[in-house]
């Protein structure tokens, strides 16, 4: 149970830092810590091969979300 508590506590810390950070691109750095913590605790809560797919889907999805927010903040996706 100790590893799950460590993951969840780090997620809570990262969520507090996201709220307290005033600048938008640096919020995304703290948000990635939250993504790592949640993806780790998904697998630790349910030890199953399906939980691995759930963690990978959550991680890739949230990474894509951060990528889209950062690209739009930087001035839009380059259209070729």
């Amino acid at each position: 149970m100790i590893p799950v508590l460590v993951c969840a506590g780090i997620g809570l810390y990262a969520a507090c830092r996201v709220v307290l950070e005033p600048e938008t691109p640096r919020k995304l750095l703290y948000l990635s810590v939250l993504n790592f913590a949640v993806a780790g605790s998904i697998v630790l809560l349910v030890p199953d091969i399906m939980a691995l797919f759930a963690a990978a889907a959550y991680f890739v999805g949230s990474t894509l979300e951060s990528n889209a927010i950062a690209s739009t903040w930087a001035g839009g996706v380059k259209r070729t």
Binding site: A8, L45, E65, I69
Partner: protein, 76 residues
């Protein structure tokens, strides 16, 4: 021990909901929705509905991308 973990993820979801409500910039609102999703998905996983968790994790980023497309036209 399990109730502490549930309480921690509930607090994360509440933080996401309140920061979505209080911030005014559209980017900060979308980041708040991302925090709220990260707090909600472990509740689905604890009960064992892993397929529902996969669907949520894949639908929310697509929704975010659509919201960014819609909100960018008003911003710039």
């Amino acid at each position: 021990m399990m109730e502490y973990i549930i309480a921690i993820f509930g607090i994360i979801a509440l933080i996401g909901a309140f920061t979505t409500y209080l911030r005014t910039s559209p980017f900060d609102k979308l980041i708040g929705v991302a925090i709220m999703t990260g707090g909600v998905i472990p509740f689905v996983v604890i009960k064992g509905y892993l397929d529902v968790a996969i669907v949520i994790a894949l639908v929310v980023p697509v929704t975010t991308i659509f919201m960014l497309q819609a909100s960018r036209r008003g911003m710039r």
